[in-house]
């Protein structure tokens, strides 16, 4: 299984004219590897991630998952795709108030209707335990700390064992310690389960967790390194 971007580009209109935010970008993502997408603000990281997540259409180029072209899918098929293959973790936990922790997690399975299978109920408890959230499954999200909420949102992304896990700045709303915790979990669970993990972040504290570091500047990939990253190297440059 591979996620392949082929000359993906995106233009946005800034009111009067079209502006290219993402220049043709070709990348390939493989399972079992945590890729970090980094770069200054406005460099196009979120745009790229949104295109990979099928919530934004590219202006040019093609996207393939497992050899199948998935860019330009009709709305309904894109939704099915997101439901079946994708997990998302956002900058904010984005849990739905009113639903309990476990109902928030279940929603990711049954957002298109239907009941939640009993295995999934068990898996939810397992996940919560793995994420250090045992005993919270009946709680309302607002009673949890920011780090806990973000871990719940990771559980929501992982409950369906996604092929692709996309995270946009998952640690930026957290204190250092919770951020480390979240990254540790992403690396441990997601990578262990063999899914494609892409984390957008410009937080240097995230880099040590990266198996691959892709840097974006002004809508272009400026570096793509696989070797294990060390902060000292950066300082030396």
């Amino acid at each position: 299984m591979k996620l392949v971007l082929e000359k993906i580009a995106r233009d946005f209109s800034d009111g009067r004219q079209m502006r290219r935010v993402l220049f043709p970008t070709s990348l390939e993502f493989v399972p079992g590897e945590l890729a970090v997408l980094s770069g200054p603000s406005g460099s196009g990281k979120t745009t790229l991630l949104s295109i990979m997540g099928l919530v934004l259409r590219p202006s040019e180029g093609h996207l393939f998952l497992d050899e199948r072209e998935i860019s330009g899918l009709p709305d309904l098929e894109a939704a099915d795709m997101r439901l079946q293959k994708y997990g998302f973790v956002f900058q904010q936990p984005m849990l739905i108030e009113g639903l309990s922790v476990r109902e928030n997690i279940w929603l990711a399975l049954a957002v298109q209707g239907g009941r939640v299978p009993p295995e999934a109920r068990e898996k939810t408890e397992d996940l919560l335990t793995q994420l250090g959230l045992e005993g919270t499954s009946h709680m309302q999200p607002r009673l949890l700390s920011g780090g806990m909420k973000q871990r719940v949102s990771i559980a929501r992304a992982l409950i369906k064992s996604p092929d692709v896990l996309l995270c946009d700045e998952p640690t930026s709303a957290l204190d250092a310690e919770s951020g480390q915790g979240v990254m540790g979990i992403l690396k441990r669970i997601a990578v262990a389960e063999g899914c494609i993990v892409v984390v957008v972040s410009h937080d240097a504290r995230v880099f040590p967790y990266a198996d691959r570091l892709i840097k974006l500047e002004n809508g272009r990939v400026v570096s793509d390194t696989r070797e294990s990253y060390s902060p000292q190297k950066e300082d030396a440059q």
Binding site: T46, L49, S50, G53, V55, L56, D75, L76, A79, D80, M81, R82, L83, Q84, Y86, F88, F90, Q91, M94, I96, E97, G98, L99, E103, W106, L107, A108, L109, A110, V111, Q112, G113, G114, R115, V116, R156, D168
Partner: protein, 373 residues
């Protein structure tokens, strides 16, 4: 899971739920109360006809309602009585008179003269005494709810209607007409009060033998009485109701107030659902991002509306039932036919769905890409 989500949202967003609930209750209660008054008034309009126990009414030609007709001759009575299938025929004389109240002032009343109160056109429910009390020439009835208006006369008390001596012999229950107080008395007394010529009546009521072909007999009556109008009781009832409904402005005033109630309800529901959905815009975007289709968002919003409507219907009907119970025995006209309840409920569901259309449009606009910003 979608309906559970809707339920959780409805419970969680308490203030907007309360607002929308208020809209639904307003519709059910206000419209229901309007309807009960309307049906109560409709009953009043044709009260004498509906309770006459007759199969057919013979009245003067060209009448537009049961309360305004010329007098007809007693001769018709003899022609009808002899017919095959006719069980009885009874004359009725209806007029107006001034009732001298206990404190000496006057109240206009409608006097209904009858010959055999237990057979035709007599009171149908008594609060005090019974129809035997009416057999006497001077006896009249007054309804319980009109007693205080007439100065609380006591049973057996003697007073005057239209300067004629009458005696209160019985108190009726639930005998109220659209044109005010109804007083039953003997034919002769009513003739004196209304000063009508002898041998002429307002109507001749006909009772059929059980088992006869009613339509055929009615047709026969029409044929042998070409100078009169012959109505079945239900025809005359409908004619009378239609007449008052369209000619008194009751119909349009009722329609207008109902429209206002519905409009208020729709506006309340629209506004509260709209603000609630606006507050949930990001949640709907999240649902879209994690694989929800537009349809799934619609299901959630519509489920929310239906949940609120269901609770609103329950509370609204409970309040309405309480109101009807309280007004049932009062002088406020109120009657709520059973078949109206499901119609009102269905109408309310429709209206609250209408009210959630704006909210639905906002919810459907939720952009899954917005969750990344």
């Amino acid at each position: 899971m979608r309906s559970l989500t809707a339920l959780r949202m409805v419970i969680h967003d308490r203030s907007s739920t309360a607002g929308a609930l208020l809209g639904v209750i307003a519709i059910v209660f206000l419209v229901g109360q309007q309807l009960s008054i309307l049906f109560g008034l409709l009953n009043y309009m044709s009260v004498l006809v509906d309770h006459s126990r007759a199969d057919a009414w013979i009245v003067s030609p060209n009448i537009r309602n049961a309360d305004a007709g010329n007098l007809i001759s007693v001769r018709y009575l003899d022609r009808v009585v002899g017919l095959d299938g006719v069980k009885w025929a009874e004359p009725v004389l209806i007029g107006n008179g001034l009732f001298r109240t206990t404190d000496g002032s006057f109240e206009s009343v409608r006097v209904v003269g009858i010959r055999r109160p237990s057979i035709a056109a007599g009171p149908w429910r008594y609060f005090q005494s019974d129809e035997k009390a009416l057999l006497d020439l001077e006896s009249v009835t007054v309804d319980r709810l009109d007693l205080s208006k007439l100065g609380a006369p006591l049973l057996e008390q003697v007073t005057e209607i239209g300067d004629r001596r009458v005696r209160l012999a019985a108190v009726t229950e639930g005998v109220r007409g659209f044109q005010g107080t109804i007083v039953f008395g003997s034919l002769d007394k009513v003739r004196e009060i209304a000063r009508t010529p002898p041998g002429r009546y307002s109507a001749i009521l006909v009772g059929y033998n059980p088992g006869v072909d009613k339509a055929a007999l009615t047709a026969q009556l029409k044929q042998i009485l070409p100078k009169c109008s012959v109505f079945t009781t239900s025809e005359l009832s409908r004619l009378t109701r239609n007449y008052y409904f369209t000619n008194t402005g009751i119909g349009s005033s009722f329609g207008f107030s109902t429209l206002i109630a519905v409009l208020i309800g729709v506006v309340i529901i629209s506004l509260t659902m709209y603000t609630s959905v606006l507050g949930r815009a990001l949640d709907f975007a999240v649902m879209r991002a994690i694989g929800g289709r537009k349809w799934d968002i619609a299901v959630v919003v519509i489920s929310e509306a239906l949940l609120i409507t269901a609770v609103g219907l329950f509370v609204g009907f409970l309040m309405l039932a309480t109101l009807l119970n309280v007004t049932g025995n009062s002088s406020i006209p109120s009657y709520f036919p059973a078949y109206v309840a499901p119609v009102l409920a269905a109408g309310t569901v429709l209206v609250s769905l209408l009210g959630s259309v704006v909210a639905l449009r906002v919810a459907l606009r939720a952009d899954p890409a917005s969750v990344f910003h």
